[in-house]
């Protein structure tokens, strides 16, 4: 009867509050047991609604939600074996750390001694033993987060749902707590579903990244796939690190297209998924910013490389690399991440004319 493992399956999930606008619009997804899955998207893309539907705080308008192979639509959160960590943690302000964590046991009728013991064991796990008698208002953001985590985990859920868990923390703490979440997920051996609008957070922590836009999944897969091989302009731009350029196919040359635009000539891009494209089509393609290198016009290059003449518009030092912002190509930004050491061998300055180059097989056609 009870849910025994934390695999999640969303089948044709639709959510609409008013019958016309679909906040979630036909989402299908499988999340394996014990995976760390991040839903990534801008605010209003439906990611939190999906989380709340998995948690049982909202019901889908259409579709099925299976946890551990069992349809859970209509069941209470406890019956789903899910637990949720709320955005602002929602710790009970009148209860100390121990009683907050023991709350779930209290409402189940577990005796005082027993639930305190269980809570203390959990407190130890999240390293808050000295603070067990404090009230939430007396804790720092990071400590509050650990209390929220312990409170959610005490009932032994199979799925933990985290709604923007790091957004209330400052930058340094965010990186630290990210590692802590990762560690807890391995320790507990359960599925984590984490909602965020920060791409760095998602790719740093998740096994599966799900990129969403307007209630639909744009791309789902391992973090590296999503970052390195975005399927379309939206995903590429949202995850960042890519130049997304637009041009017209001048001719098809075997399994590659030769693309031109007012600023670019003879840029060769493998057709990849766009096998059906034909001469004259307008297409988007992506090239990672760290795959773009910059040369002075006088130095020659070899023929296998794309070469785009441009000019340096701005330079930002980033520590381990230098962000060189070039003139736009049409409406598209062209940016090169040049390794620190390479850049300072022959530093460029704003206004310099450069040739931006990249290898043909580093480019990727977008849908």
């Amino acid at each position: 009867m009870a849910v025994e493992n934390g695999s999640i399956e969303l089948a044709g999930i639709v959510k609409s509050y008013d019958g016309t606008i679909r906040v979630v619009d036909g989402v299908n997804l499988r999340i394996p047991d014990r995976a760390y899955c991040c839903f990534l998207g801008p605010s209003g893309c439906g990611k939190t609604t999906i989380l709340r539907m998995i948690a049982g705080h909202e019901d889908p308008t259409h579709g099925e939600i299976l946890i551990g192979g069992k349809d859970v639509v209509g069941l209470a959160p406890v019956e789903r074996r899910t637990a949720m960590m709320f955005q602002s943690y929602a710790l009970f302000p009148h209860l100390n750390v121990r009683d907050n964590i023991a709350f779930a046991l209290r409402v189940r009728g577990v005796g005082v001694q027993e639930r305190r013991k269980a809570a203390d064991a959990m407190i130890e796990k999240v390293r808050l033993t000295e603070l067990a008698d404090r009230l939430p208002a007396q804790l720092s953001g990071g400590q509050q987060q650990r209390v929220a985590l312990a409170r959610a985990a005490i009932t032994g859920p199979k799925v933990l749902l985290l709604d923007e868990p790091l957004s209330a923390l400052d930058e340094q703490l965010r990186v630290q707590m990210r590692q802590e979440l990762s560690r807890m997920q391995r320790d507990l051996g359960i599925t984590f579903v984490h909602v965020t609008h920060t791409q760095l957070e998602a790719i740093a922590i998740a096994d599966i990244v799900v990129v969403m836009e307007k209630g639909k999944i744009k791309q789902a897969g391992p973090a590296r796939d999503v970052y390195d091989q975005p399927q379309d302009r939206y995903v590429a731009e949202f995850l960042g690190g890519q130049n997304v350029l637009t041009g017209r196919i001048e001719r098809i040359d075997g399994d590659s297209a030769v693309i031109v635009s007012p600023e670019m000539r003879d840029v060769v891009v493998p057709l990849g998924a766009r096998r059906a494209a034909s001469t004259g089509d307008r297409v988007d393609f992506a090239i990672r910013r760290d795959d773009v290198d910059l040369a002075r016009p006088e130095t020659g290059g070899d023929g296998a490389r794309a070469k785009v003449p441009s000019r340096v518009r701005a330079i930002e030092y980033q520590g381990n690399f230098v962000k060189v912002i070039l003139d736009k190509i049409g409406d598209d930004e062209l940016i090169a991440y040049v390794p620190d050491r390479v850049f300072y061998r022959d530093p460029l300055s704003v206004g310099d004319v450069v040739i931006a180059g990249w290898e043909k097989d580093k480019t990727r056609m977008l849908a």
């Binding site: 959160p77 899910t82 955005q87 009148h94 209290r106 404090r134 009230l135 959610a152």
Partner: protein
């Protein structure tokens, strides 16, 4: 004038003037502070002076009269208050007022809390309900009292302090209670309910384990409002209390026929009781907040 004097006269006024511009008076306070402080002192004297006169005059001895100067000091008029029949039914009206105030407080707290919960979500006609409730705050108390009296007369209901007066007082305390409750409720985060539900709490458990403890200081404030408003209420009660008086009505009738300082003694006693109740309530709120802010929790 010597050269030296000239030099100082020329040099010194400049920094002095600059100093005055930055800090207009010695000790760093601007002159407006003293004006406002004087104004405030006068206000406080005007506010409490008349009451203080009454408290002081209530401690005269047996020769005491209704006006200054003081004639001796004793507790004579306090004893007189509770023993002499001619001063009126102080004991009876006092106990009626306290009992009435307790009932009004309980009803006010319960209904204000429930309407606070109801108004957490928007519902059809919510603003109509809200304005209907607030409307009775605006209605003149005496007119409302006359209306209640008229209707009871029409329906053949006998007015008494524990039925019609109770209703008339609630028309006054409930809107107040609800308004205070709204302010208190605005601090209640919906995520707490959801978190409780997520952890397996039933609606009932959420209410008494989460919502009521979080709102407790606010509920005490509503109770305080309910009690003091009822205990003091005059205009609405006047025509609805029937044959037996509440304390404010009794005091009023005493001002018409009692000509001894026991009237003042009564004023002193009722004020003390009001302060006692306010003190207890504020103390309770302060204790709750201190417990919450400074932990560690006792249990």
């Amino acid at each position: 004038m010597t050269d030296h004097q000239l030099a100082t006269a020329n040099v010194e006024p400049v920094p002095n003037r600059r100093l005055r511009a930055l800090a207009p008076s010695r000790g760093g306070r601007p002159w407006t502070f003293y004006v406002l402080a004087t104004l405030f002192t006068l206000y406080v004297i005007a506010l409490y002076g008349p009451m203080l006169c009454i408290y002081i005059l209530s401690f005269q001895d047996v020769r005491g009269g209704l006006v200054f100067p003081m004639r001796g000091t004793s507790l004579h008029w306090f004893v007189d208050l509770f023993t002499q029949v001619r001063t009126g039914d102080v004991k009876g009206s006092f106990s009626r007022s306290i009992r009435l105030a307790i009932v009004v407080t309980i009803i006010t707290v319960v209904i204000s809390f429930m309407s606070g919960l109801a108004f957490r979500k928007r519902f059809a006609g919510d603003s109509v309900v809200f304005y209907l409730m607030i409307g009775s705050l605006v209605a003149p108390g005496l007119v409302l009292g006359i209306g209640v009296g008229l209707i009871c007369n029409l329906l053949g209901i006998e007015t008494s302090w524990y039925t019609t007066a109770l209703g008339a007082q609630l028309s006054w305390t409930l809107p107040f209670g609800v308004l205070v409750m709204f302010a208190v409720m605005s601090r209640l985060n919906n995520a707490w309910d959801e978190a409780a539900r997520d952890l397996g709490a039933s609606t009932w458990q959420t209410t008494y384990l989460v919502i009521i403890p979080i709102l407790a200081p606010g509920l005490v404030a509503v109770a305080l409002f309910g009690f003091t408003l009822s205990y003091d209420e005059f205009t609405r009660t006047l025509l609805t209390a029937g044959s037996l008086n509440t304390l404010p009505l009794e005091i009023w009738s005493m001002t018409l026929n009692v000509t001894s300082p026991s009237l003042y003694a009564l004023g002193t006693v009722t004020t003390l009781i009001s302060f006692l109740i306010i003190g207890v309530c504020l103390g309770t709120i302060a204790r709750m907040q201190k417990r919450r802010a400074a932990g560690p929790a006792a249990h």
